[in-house]
């Protein structure tokens, strides 16, 4: 502590170490958040369902997505990344997950939503397995923190069935 530079260095080092500890504590505090997200997805319309020239099935859907993800937000949340995936099994793949829509929720005010949309990304199968297929629509989310650990979870909604024939 005998010189200006020595004291300045000691102060800054200690201050930054304490800052790191505060950020770790903020991340730990996220574990005490009780989560109660809800969501509901309806297939409003199947716009078309075809077999592509290369042999793969493709379907275009209009979806009604509504969800309430407000409980996911804490003081340490930067944003929530959410996406909707269609999940089903085929003889070739035990599990297929096709992302149909995603979005970024920047704050708690935007976390309760309900809207119609066609699928943002194409729903293409690896093969020709979609006719009459039962599939789940799963809403996944990633809670991205300001500092620390990211939490990810999902809600599985089942009971959807594709058309029996191409349209």
């Amino acid at each position: 502590m005998h010189s200006f530079g020595y004291r300045a260095n000691a102060l800054l080092t200690f201050a930054i170490t304490i800052l790191a500890i505060m950020c770790a504590m903020a991340s730990v505090s996220d574990n005490f958040n009780s989560l109660s997200p809800t969501s509901e997805v309806q297939v409003w319309n199947i716009n078309w369902f075809r077999k592509k020239p290369d042999g793969d099935d493709e379907v275009s859907l209009t979806l009604n997505i509504s969800a309430n993800l407000e409980s996911l937000f804490t003081w340490n949340t930067k944003q929530v990344f959410v996406f909707l995936a269609a999940e089903y099994g085929t003889p070739k793949n035990a599990l297929n997950q096709v992302s149909l829509w995603d979005g970024i929720i920047p704050s708690k005010e935007h976390a309760k939503f309900s809207f119609h949309t066609t699928n943002k990304y194409r729903f293409i199968d690896q093969g020709s397995n979609l006719r009459g297929k039962n599939f789940n629509l799963t809403l996944h989310w990633h809670v991205m923190p300001k500092t620390g650990k990211m939490f990810a979870d999902k809600i599985v909604m089942s009971g959807y069935r594709m058309l029996e024939a191409y349209r």
Partner: protein, 92 residues
């Protein structure tokens, strides 16, 4: 700074930073505002650096005790050997 002043500066710096960190964290958590925590802590770091880093007079209250000049004369500085055999004499 004198010795006591250095000790005071170090302890004051550590205490102030920890206190500001605790206050900042609790305030931020209660308000649900990460930004508030950062602002309070940043203000605390600036305040602490203004208080403990510069050489304020109150850090220099107990002056260092230097040796008396007469005591120093009793123990003259050893002269370097100019010529002759190199003989190391133990001189204080």
């Amino acid at each position: 700074m004198d010795w006591q002043g250095q000790k005071l500066a170090e302890h004051l710096m550590q205490l102030l930073l920890v206190c500001f960190a605790v206050v900042a964290f609790i305030t931020g958590y209660m308000l649900g505002s990460f930004q508030m925590m950062m602002l309070i802590y940043a203000a605390g770091v600036v305040l602490t650096s203004l208080l403990t880093v510069p050489n304020w007079p109150f850090f220099n209250r107990q002056a260092l005790k230097w040796l008396d000049p007469s005591e120093a004369e009793k123990h003259p500085k050893p002269q370097p050997a100019i010529s002759g055999p190199k003989k190391k004499t133990a001189k204080k």
